[in-house]
């Protein structure tokens, strides 16, 4: 006799949603730190640094997240010689994934700041690191916020892929509940609604911030 989808099952999904959020935050923070380094490397004066960063970003953006996840999972197993649990693999894989995308977003933000701003900094006798830190990055930071929030939505949705290697987050929890209730018509739409409840407000926020910054920069959205 199978169970019905009732309150405890819903609470199980909600509990699993927590791990979706935790994974997304870890990847976002770790990927943010690595992504900042990548963005700086991509805009550095030293050519090999630029090539390395561009190569890394190209490979990550040119391959499926699922493959990166499998490689992290089995790669760590090869390195340590034991079958590991999914936690280290998913955090490593999603951090590397987030780093590439955030690095590319922030590179675009840094390069969107007019060259004259660097020159103005130089004219004030600021050293190159000071120009970056006090003139460029504060401005780049502002325009990078909307696409960064937009990527966060992509990252949250992307963590559902971790379910494929058995990491129990919202998507995997949905599968487990379907296995005991045999009610995919009820469970999966609810899972989708939970993702929507998390992602949609962030998407709206990204759109609002984008309009605000466009307005501040004097860009009109509707010509």
């Amino acid at each position: 006799m199978s169970r019905d989808f009732e309150w405890p099952e819903f609470l199980f999904l909600l509990g699993a949603l927590r791990w979706t959020v935790v994974l997304a935050i870890i990847a976002f923070v770790g990927g943010g730190i690595a992504g900042l380094l990548l963005a700086l490397a991509r805009t550095a004066a030293i050519a090999p640094l630029r090539w390395l960063a561009a190569g890394y970003i190209g490979v990550i953006q040119g391959t499926p997240v699922l493959m990166q996840l499998f490689l992290a999972y089995y790669g760590l197993a090869v390195l340590t010689g034991i079958r590991i649990d999914p936690w280290p693999a998913v955090t490593v894989a999603f951090t590397m994934y987030a780093a590439a995308f955030l690095g590319e977003i922030w590179r675009g933000s840094i390069q969107a700041i007019p060259r004259q701003q660097w020159e103005a900094g130089a004219a004030l006798a600021l050293s190159a690191p000071s120009q970056l830190r006090h003139v460029i990055l504060p401005q780049a930071f502002r325009i990078s916020i909307p696409p960064t929030v937009g990527f966060l939505v992509q990252l949250i949705k992307g963590t559902s892929i971790a379910s494929i290697i058995g990491f129990v987050e919202l998507a995997r929890a949905g599968q487990l509940i379907v296995n005991v209730t045999f009610q995919p018509m009820v469970v999966y739409p609810i899972v989708a609604a939970l993702y929507f409840a998390v992602c949609w407000p962030l998407s709206l926020l990204a759109l609002r911030l984008e309009r605000k910054i466009d307005a501040a920069l004097g860009l009109k959205r509707h010509p």
């Binding site: 499926p64 089995y74 559902s160 995919p184 999966y188 989708a192 929507f196 509707h222």
Partner: protein, 229 residues
Amino acid sequence: MKYVFQFGIVWDHLPRLLDGAWLTLRLSAGAFVLGLTIATALAFIRNAGPAPLGAAVRTYVEFIRNTPFLIQLFIIYFSLPAIGLRFEANEAALLGMSLNFSGYATEILRAGIEAVPRSQVEAGHSLGFTRLQIYRHIVVFPALRTVYPALASQFVLLMLGSSLVAAISAEELTAITNTLQSTTFRAFEFYFVATGIYLAMSLGARGLLDAIYWAVFVRGRPMDRAWAR
């Protein structure tokens, strides 16, 4: 115990991997065409259709863009049979990819449509064109040119995302890799090579799409041809 890499066994199974890659390419191309067709219609409805329909399109686009592709696949493949809609794995994969792509493409096309100068639309009105005629003869092609780079990027994302249809047992590159690694116990080697194949496909697709853009929109003068038509 030291792990010894053995890529020879992957080499032996390369034809099967390439079969899978071929299905990946076919699914992606099919979903691109289907999804873009749906998106063109949806963008028109959203832009010029009656308000309730426009709101429905907006809801659809928001749903697609704010839920995971994997869950959309699960709904199509596992949930819909409960109301009598049953698909083969490959059909469900194509349908899921098309619908997912259409959500993003509608939003991309909308941006392109909004970028077409209003005066051109008004010129169409003054010539007595209907809304559909204006859309078809004045708006669509310039809008497509504007959004081509965004659509090209979205196509690469579509192809990479297609690896998820392995989860509903469509037999593309990822699924074949899963099967082969589980029978040979050479997981890392198989995934490594499959990743390389995906990388080659996405670089190839990007190169091809860039070449098409150059041939259609840069080298030729599309405005002349648009007038000749």
